[in-house]
């Protein structure tokens, strides 16, 4: 038995991986790119907020926040012998926030400051109007583990404060007050986060485990995909199946090959990294090396079993690599979540595969790992691997996973497909009004497929192009001081899920207000349009006019421009009508006109965004989806479906109400009818863009729940405004006034269509 296993293992270690691994190279590049992105974010964060590159910690400063003049002069009188004492040892700061715990904690824990004394901003007023039971509170922050800090604190609390208190009492003539004139609240902050510690923390908890994960993942995938799936693709797998080896021997042999190759790479990386760390810090034992090797081995074994399963289930390397993607993302998520966890995770995490490996590697490096945990994790991994091997063995008995060519099946399927297409085409050929923009599909799809495709397509494309737009503002945000406050708030609301969700929503809304985000979004929308154009012209091989983007023909460009101009007017007229109605009904007040100079760039960014934004959404729903659904399910359903999915996509925005959804459906319905009426999407694209622009940046209202700050006309809802009419937090699209305007527009459009039809009939 071993001879066959070894033969297969040798084959999959050496020969198998040489073919067609371009895809896995792409995956490696992606993984490394992620790693680089992550590292650069991390480094930028460290550079900004850490004393990582500063030469010496300065820990003999006392920081006085909101210190009243009387205290300053008291201190000056204490240190009159050294006139420049103040400049050297005291720092002044005024702050609006009384409890800025996070900031002071950071300063103390990085040993920049020995003692922080915070006075309330209105200390003098409080003293002047002192009542019996209310006294101003002075906060002190210090590190009891630091002798310097502790000494300062004692001097201040034992000597200075009582003396200063007496002085104050004397000044205000309140010697009769039974207790102290002010209270002192002490905060002990232990500073342990030294520079070497944070560097080691990054190596132990981030760099080493992440690199090992990437190495194991990549190598397993590269070898694993090339072994069974690759052999099926090349047609060499049948010869192995025809030989009298057991299926389990095939599984074990290939797994062994993957493991050997992966361990050669990952183990090599591990040893190199360890020797580098050893050269730099020199601190670990042979037990740690062995534990790390064992952890890497068991990670490799589980991963190899998983990869092998996927490889067995697929016919080609490409298909198998695509199948591996979910695991790749799962690993990414595991790495990121593990990385972010600062305190020790619960024991359960140490016993879970992948999580256990990640934390295990970090814990071994920290020297907090135990043999018991290691053995338990190894046993659990062994059990999981055995189960996976067993499943893989069973899969090799299933014909569809072993057979390389079942032409009979393909032929039958093709015949059925042709018959079915003929039937469907016949059914709809009779009703020419279902042909929108002259679209004619090259091949028929099943109804379920079509619906699912058109439901998922906008969501996935939008989320794909919107997420990257957040990256730059996010990095910018993380580097600014605001991030600290945000994370502090997050950690205090950790137990309150809805509060946390709210915070995150607010955080995202904040990010979306930056001009970087707006510009990136605009770029994203342009790319999105490019993707759709690519799909239409290159993949579906349809003319662009079949998606309502007709330009060709005599005067085509002029016609398109005229349609676009008309759309601008339509959109502006609609929104103006709605705002006018709000003003007339006393729901809205104009507070000013003109744009803040600091907002000009943001304003421009918005204009640059609304144009592709409107065009891309119209292309997605009215240009691409409408004719395709219409050809298969009829025009009426297509209008309904595009409107409903349009509303659903916007239904996730903030402050959405049932009325807002109805309005969105109505507006989408109007746009759909308008595009059908004009026979292109130029008009609706313009109307859509200008509708959003006028709403947000002309009249300063919310656009589907998103607030804009850069607006030409400043408006505010009057105190007695009725949210039912104005839409409240969702913006006018959530109110009855917009309902009225849209219905009016629809009626006008229907009347126009009717008139045109009658005229045509006469001709």
């Amino acid at each position: 038995m071993f001879r066959a296993v070894w033969a297969i293992a040798r084959k999959s270690t050496t020969g198998g991986s040489r073919l067609k691994t371009e895809m896995s190279k792409a995956s490696l590049a992606t993984a490394l790119f992620f790693f680089l992105c992550f590292m650069s974010t991390l480094v930028s964060y460290v550079v900004y907020s850490d004393s990582f590159f500063q030469s010496e910690p300065e820990n003999n400063y006392v920081m006085l926040v909101n210190s009243p003049e009387s205290f300053d002069s008291y201190l000056e009188s204490k240190f009159e012998k050294i006139p420049d004492y103040f400049e050297t040892y005291f720092r002044h700061e005024t702050s609006g926030t009384y409890y800025d715990f996070v900031k002071y904690q950071n300063m103390l824990s990085r040993d920049q400051i020995a003692l922080i004394i915070v006075f309330p901003g209105n200390f003098n007023d409080q003293i002047a109007s002192l009542a019996n039971d209310s006294r101003p509170e002075i906060l002190t922050y210090y590190d009891p583990g630091n002798e310097n800090s502790k000494g300062y604190h004692e001097t201040f609390t034992k000597n200075f404060f009582p003396e200063y208190g007496d002085e104050l009492q004397a000044k205000y003539g309140r010697t009769a007050v039974s207790s102290d004139i002010f209270a002192i609240q002490e905060f002990e902050i232990t500073g342990t986060d030294t520079r070497a510690d944070s560097a080691l923390f990054a190596i132990h908890h981030m760099i080493l485990p992440l690199l090992l994960f990437i190495a194991v993942m990549y190598s397993c995938m590269e070898t694993g995909m090339a072994c069974v799936a690759g052999e099926k693709e090349r047609g060499t797998f049948a010869a192995i199946l025809l030989s009298p080896v057991r299926r389990i021997e095939i599984v074990l042999g290939n797994a062994l090959g993957i493991i050997i190759r992966t361990m050669a790479i990952a183990g090599g990386i591990l040893l190199v990294l360890l020797s580098l760390i050893f050269a730099a810090f020199g601190y670990f034992s042979i037990v740690q090396v062995v534990s790390l090797l064992l952890l890497t081995l068991s990670l490799t074994v589980v991963m190899a079993a998983l990869v092998l399963m996927i490889s067995i289930m697929n016919r080609t390397i490409l298909a198998a690599q695509t199948g591996f993607l979910p695991i790749f993302f799962l690993m990414l998520i595991i790495c990121i979540t593990s990385m972010q966890k600062q305190d020790a995770p619960s024991i359960l995490y140490y016993l879970l595969p992948f999580y256990g490996h990640y934390y295990g590697i970090a814990a071994v490096m920290d020297g907090t790992y135990s043999i018991g945990l290691l053995v338990s994790l190894l046993a659990i991994c062994l059990a999981i691997t055995a189960a996976l091997f067993f499943a893989a063995e069973r899969l090799l008995h299933v014909e569809r996973f072993t057979l390389y060519a079942d032409s009979g099946k393909d032929l039958a399927r093709e015949r059925r497909q042709r018959l079915w297409e003929r039937r469907i085409r016949g059914k709809y050929a009779a009703s020419p009004q279902n042909r929108v923009y002259g679209y004619e599909p090259k091949r028929m799809r099943s109804g379920t497929w079509l619906i699912l495709y058109h439901l998922l397509m906008p969501v996935s494309v939008l989320s794909f192009f919107q997420t990257p737009a957040l990256i730059y503002p996010m990095i910018d945000y993380l580097r600014s001081g605001r991030a600290n406050t945000f994370f502090e708030k997050i950690s205090t609301s950790a137990s309150d899920v809805s509060g946390m969700a709210n915070l995150i929503m607010r955080f995202l809304a904040d990010l979306m207000q930056t001009k970087e985000f707006i510009f990136s979004m605009s770029l994203g929308y342009i790319l999105l349009i490019a993707v759709y154009v690519f799909i239409i012209t290159r993949i579906e091989k349809q003319p662009l006019s079949s998606s309502g983007l007709g330009l060709k023909g005599a005067g085509g460009v002029r016609k398109a421009l005229r349609s676009y101009g008309a759309g601008l007017l339509v959109g502006l007229a609609m929104m103006s009508l709605a705002v006018f109605a709000m003003l007339l009904s006393g729901n809205l007040n104009i507070t000013g006109i003109g744009i803040d100079p600091s907002q000009v760039l943001l304003f421009v960014a918005y204009i640059a965004m609304w144009i592709p934004q409107g065009a891309s959404e119209e292309l997605m729903f009215r240009g691409y989806m409408l004719p395709r659904i219409s050809r298969r399910f009829g025009r009426a359903f297509a209008v309904f479906f595009t409107s409903a999915s349009f509303a659903l996509l916007h239904g996730a925005n903030a402050g959405v109400t049932p009325l807002a959804v109805i309005n969105l459906v109505l507006i989408a319905w109007f746009f759909a009818e308008l595009s059908l009426f004009t026979g292109n999407i130029w008009t609706v694209s313009a109307a859509h863009s200008v509708w959003n622009f006028a709403q947000g940046n002309l009249f300063g209202l919310r656009v589907s729940g998103t607030q804009n700050t850069a607006s030409l006309i400043h408006t505010v809802y009057s105190d007695n405004a009725m949210p039912l009419l104005t839409g409240g937090d969702f913006g006018p699209e959530g109110g009855l006034i917009v309902t009225g305007v849209t219905v009016l527009c629809l009626l006008i459009l229907f009347a126009l269509r009717h008139k045109l039809k009658n005229e045509n009939r006469k001709v």
């Binding site: 049948a238 199946l241 025809l242 030989s243 079942d406 009979g408």
Partner: protein
């Protein structure tokens, strides 16, 4: 001895690819499966070679059932089809060793058989070359040599002369005769009539997954009342093909 009794095969959601096929291949004869493309020849041969499990019916090879004794059967058959390919980056030498290991054959015997078939097919000069560098004919000869590495009593070849030039095709047919002379049972599929007429002792004609004629070529001509084998086949096809 290969016994095929009432074997049918359908893939999920489609019509039968092979329908109720029965025939018997006696020891020491060459049996031909004849039929147009898509008639089900390959599927039938894959079932006989244990790569597929029949939906209905049984296949017995030397008394062993393909459903239950698949490993033993694999030791007893040599199977060759155009879809079983050789690893393009391996060499004939390495492939012999690899399959020798898979079949669990003693290393010395592997070496001996390798030497024999290298000499028989003039492979020796190419023993260290990568498969990808070799000609179609050479690849086919190596495939044949490797599929018979375990010296099986039953040989199943799917279109063994497909795509070969006359010289190499001749070498292959000569070898098949030699194998028959050594007492092997040979099942082969082809759509080349001259090969079938020259080589086969008995044939079965497959149309749309059914056996429409069974027997020697002479008997076939007699029952259809035609002069040439080609005419006989054509008549059988037009009579039985549906659609």
């Amino acid at each position: 001895m290969i016994e095929v009794s009432h074997v049918s095969k359908q893939y999920s959601g489609s019509d039968d690819v092979v329908r109720d096929v029965s025939f018997e291949v006696k020891d020491g004869v060459i049996f031909g499966l004849l039929g147009p493309n898509g008639a089900g020849k390959t599927t039938l041969m894959q079932m006989i070679a244990t790569l597929l499990v029949p939906s209905q019916g049984n296949v017995l090879i030397n008394g062993l059932n393909t459903r239950t004794d698949e490993r033993e059967i694999r030791r007893n058959i040599g199977f060759l089809t155009s879809e079983v390919k050789l690893d393009p980056f391996s060499t004939p030498d390495k492939l012999f060793r690899f399959f020798g290991d898979l079949y669990g054959i003693d290393r010395k015997i592997v070496e001996q058989r390798k030497a024999e078939s290298f000499a028989r097919f003039d492979i020796a000069p190419f023993a260290q070359k990568k498969i990808i560098e070799l000609s179609t004919g050479m690849k086919q000869k190596i495939s044949i040599a490797i599929s018979l590495i375990h010296n099986p009593p039953v040989v199943i070849f799917d279109e063994p002369t497909n795509g070969l030039d006359i010289l190499t095709a001749r070498q292959v047919t000569d070898y098949l005769r030699e194998l028959r002379a050594n007492g092997r049972t040979i099942l082969l599929s082809t759509h080349i009539f001259s090969v079938a007429e020259d080589l086969c002792d008995e044939i079965a004609v497959l149309v749309d997954g059914c056996v429409v004629a069974l027997g020697s070529i002479a008997a076939l001509k007699e029952t259809t009342g035609t002069q040439s084998f080609e005419d006989a086949f054509f008549r059988l096809y037009t009579e039985n093909h549906k659609e």
